[in-house]
Chain length 189, copies 2
DNA sequence: GTCTATAATAGGATAGAC
DNA sequence: GTCTATCCTATTATAGAC
């Protein structure tokens, strides 16, 4: 029987998995065809710009998903501490407790990252901005809020690098715990 | 006139640059030949195992350099705070203020990282261990020392990822400053 | 040790049938 | 939309002369 026909969202999800696991330069069209179950020609039907358009398409889709599932809720109703907790739980699942790499990091590590630089910059900024706004909502001064939000993203990305490099994913859990405890803490006097 | 003959150390240094800039999958033999000024056959003369042996050779050389220039001094004579400051200054230069990527991260992000997993694990552990020992020398309890050292490596790696992703290298400087202030601080009571 | 030349394969991309 | 077949280039790696 013929392979199940995938929706564009499903195709993008499988592309994202492939790029996340193998990186941009490490993911060949053969890898991508296998992961999606599509032939090369079908892939070029969806993405006439080839591999580069596949990656930028994945980034655009991820941006929407993060907005809906991660950043948006941070600005919605609820107590800041609880909203932070939910975001960190979501991230823990998203990165599978530190076992999964970060797609943003993988694309930032491409030999030619220029096609991804602009969306990557926007997404990192959005992420930091959303957490900084949460800090301000919790009464933290703007400058401190921004610094803490940046530090949280830094810790998450760094913990994923360390986890991948050592094969031990526990640093990721510890980083999440550290963020949970420190991000919204009252500033030192 | 013929190209200058490079020492093995110099060859390894140029290989390291290439892998650091382009990643393992993104660095082709043509890139490597150009960076070293050597033909492919000369490269295979030095590294019969091909690209993979080049990368493991680079890791081995880097390990020695870090031992001599970074980790060793941490265990040598001097006040802990001053030794920490020197290490961070060295790192700041090594990463060119956040403009350079980390070779360990780049190799950890290869599609097939299995040949590098063991040395990467050892090098990250050595780095964390050296900083933890410095913390203990400053009177910090072992468990806290280990956690802080891990957090420092996490912050450095994460700041490099964020700097590469956004094209703004300032987060790296801020991360170094945060480590400078917090790593050896007296533990909270 | 380094070179030129070349093998053998994998890579990205396209054509045209269905 | 998807397939098979194909093109062309880049890629890794080797052979053999100097």
């Amino acid at each position: 029987m013929p392979a199940a026909i995938l929706s564009r969202e499903e195709i993008l999800a499988r592309l994202a998995d492939t790029f996340r696991q193998r990186g941009y330069d490490g993911a060949s069209l053969a890898d991508i065809a296998k992961a999606t179950g599509l032939g090369k020609s079908s892939l070029y039907h969806y993405f006439p710009g080839g591999k580069e358009e596949m990656a930028t398409g994945v980034l655009a889709a991820l941006s929407e998903q993060l907005e809906a599932g991660l950043f948006g809720p941070l600005a919605g109703p609820g107590v800041p501490a609880r909203k932070l907790g939910r975001m960190l739980d979501t991230l823990d699942g998203f990165y599978n407790g530190g076992r999964n790499a970060c797609l943003l990091e993988r694309l930032a590590a491409s030999a030619d990252r220029s096609p991804f630089q602009r969306p990557l910059h926007a997404m990192f900024e959005r992420w930091i901005g959303a957490m900084a706004a949460l800090c301000r909502e919790a009464g933290i001064p703007a400058a401190t809020a921004r610094a803490r939000a940046e530090d949280a993203v830094v810790r998450i990305e760094g913990a994923l690098v360390l986890s991948a490099g050592t094969g031990d994913h526990r640093p990721f859990g510890r980083a999440l715990t550290a963020i949970r405890r420190s991000l919204l803490a009252p500033p030192a006097p």
